[in-house]
Symmetry: C2
Subunit: 357 residues, 2 copies
Amino acid sequence: MADPQSLTPRQEHLLRLIVREHVETAGAVASRTLVDRYRLDVSSATVRNDMARLEDLGLLLQPHTSAGRVPTEKGFRYFVERLMEEATLPQNEQRMIAHQFYQARNHIEEWLPLASTVLARISQAAAILTAPRTTRSLFKHLELIATHGRAVLLVLVLEGGTLEQQMLVLSEPMTQGALREAADRLNQVCAGLDADQIASRIPELPPLEQNICQLVLTMMHNVEGDTSDELYYHGLAELLQAPEFTGTEEASTVLVRVLEERSVLQAVVAETLTPSVGVGSVRVLIGGEGRWDELRTCSLVLARYGIADYATGALGVVGPIRMQYGRAISAVRFVAGVLGELVYDIYQPDAHSDIVA
Amino acid sequence: MADPQSLTPRQEHLLRLIVREHVETAGAVASRTLVDRYRLDVSSATVRNDMARLEDLGLLLQPHTSAGRVPTEKGFRYFVERLMEEATLPQNEQRMIAHQFYQARNHIEEWLPLASTVLARISQAAAILTAPRTTRSLFKHLELIATHGRAVLLVLVLEGGTLEQQMLVLSEPMTQGALREAADRLNQVCAGLDADQIASRIPELPPLEQNICQLVLTMMHNVEGDTSDELYYHGLAELLQAPEFTGTEEASTVLVRVLEERSVLQAVVAETLTPSVGVGSVRVLIGGEGRWDELRTCSLVLARYGIADYATGALGVVGPIRMQYGRAISAVRFVAGVLGELVYDIYQPDAHSDIVA
DNA sequence: GTTAGCACTCTAGATTATCGAGTGCTAACA
DNA sequence: TGTTAGCACTCGATAATCTAGAGTGCTAAC
């Protein structure tokens, strides 16, 4: 990063304006344009001198001789870290969003779609989210529900409310009553234990319960291992409208691939989900930062949400490098906050919520 | 549709070849090319005469004077209905797919992703699927599971194994035991009933159960109403590689929008889900057929799967009009069959399946 | 340190020229 | 009547050329 001392206040201001202008127009910014548009009281020649300086520092670049300047990734980084005014969403927008989430508070399955819609709309980019996950899974409760014939639905509730379900097929039919007895035995033995502890108790159990327990163990391990399969995104169509993705076909293909195949995003998100990233802080990844080549053409704004050590997920937006970072960051922060509260309410329902229906 | 009598065998054969060639090359097909490539024992002039005839009938068209011919939608339709050799998948491919599904047979949540991967790969297009849905929902069983504090998970099992779940928050905490008693009462009252019947029994119930019942009713109605929110797709990235979507930016944008917004697909799929479309039959929709403008640039191959009147879903592929219909149809038919068997097994598990784990 | 003036560079877009693929037509032929 | 060789003609794609203007860097003056 460029030594901040080396930038005069005017240079910083120019960088700010160039970023703003570039974000708006998607094109290179000319010295003349800046002077005219922002009524600067210096001449374009002066601006050009400063621009040359900013280019020396690697904050700007010229696409070609005799074109205006475009911020580099380093320039964007500088902007995000030092120059950006931290916008918060307008009050009425906040209220509206909060209200939408309030209405969906008892419909867990709608949280992610709603959050994605909101994020995509506000940030004008694509939204990505993962469902909240517990970091360590403790057995809480298990239900066995006869669905049809020998098919039985196993519902596993983990401490913290994570829910897993799986179908199993018995070798011969059992009544719901018999299933309940088996479930009760398992619940008694396993309540509050983690996977390892349950494994050590398996020998004590009758054969049927042993089999089921084995299944439960794999489910618990899956929960701990996976942040992967739950990646959810929305807003690709809007994102592809951006000029940087309409020009070369390649850019858009890369983007679609990234969003569809998910592996790269999963890796980035997994990083965001490590405890070292505090819940509440927002992470900005600009142009892949040299580490994610596929993300070269885009930027991510990511945050964790939920309750640290209990249930956290990641959420964020994917946009062109030329993203409205201010909006994106405030959107991500706000939605992370709202979602976090919802998750919190499930853990610690407090007095103001009331019965559904 | 053109009167089949009006086509000579050679003209039909030429149409077949033109479709085949066009599907392969994505370009206009020249008379000369056909003669050379397929060693026809007529001259290119003769072929041109026939082509002119096929064009008169609306089966071919020239993108511009002095270009080769391209099949029209009508041409593709003719091809699909009369000329296409009904390919079945190679044995070993069938076995491989069946094996994959066999391994996933007890992991319901993997059925759709697996099916979509398989479909996309074989047909080299994007896959779309809906989860199996019951057409009429009968209450089977309900469980209330305390997850944390006053939060309770309601799991509703419908006749046929459809599963719905929802979180509800009580006004004050209840023990798992008390919840079970409430659930038992409801199970006794509601077992086997449909939504209307349950509604008529509500007055008999204590207040808490009334509230829960109300919730159950909306869930049942949702199940009946919705084929919508479960639309699942995969393979967009591959599809966008096709030359017809790389040329103009507009085509690809339309496609992405169709796949992302889903409303159009939902409408088409809903049509496929009406009982008039038999389970097992495959429907081919070419270029929107004039009714779906957004689908102008693509074709769909769709089928229902599952058990008629019990639980059926739709599945299919979306590709360019220039699609390998043979592959696509056989892939859709085969996967629909395999998925159907899985659904069937849940309903009527037979002797050969054994216990999981 | 700032600025006016100016020569210079490079791109985007328009214009034109050229090539060749592929057709339709005609006239001859079986 | 159906088939074929021959040929003129059309039209799109590609390349080559030109032009306008946007924007810079430099220099010299303030």
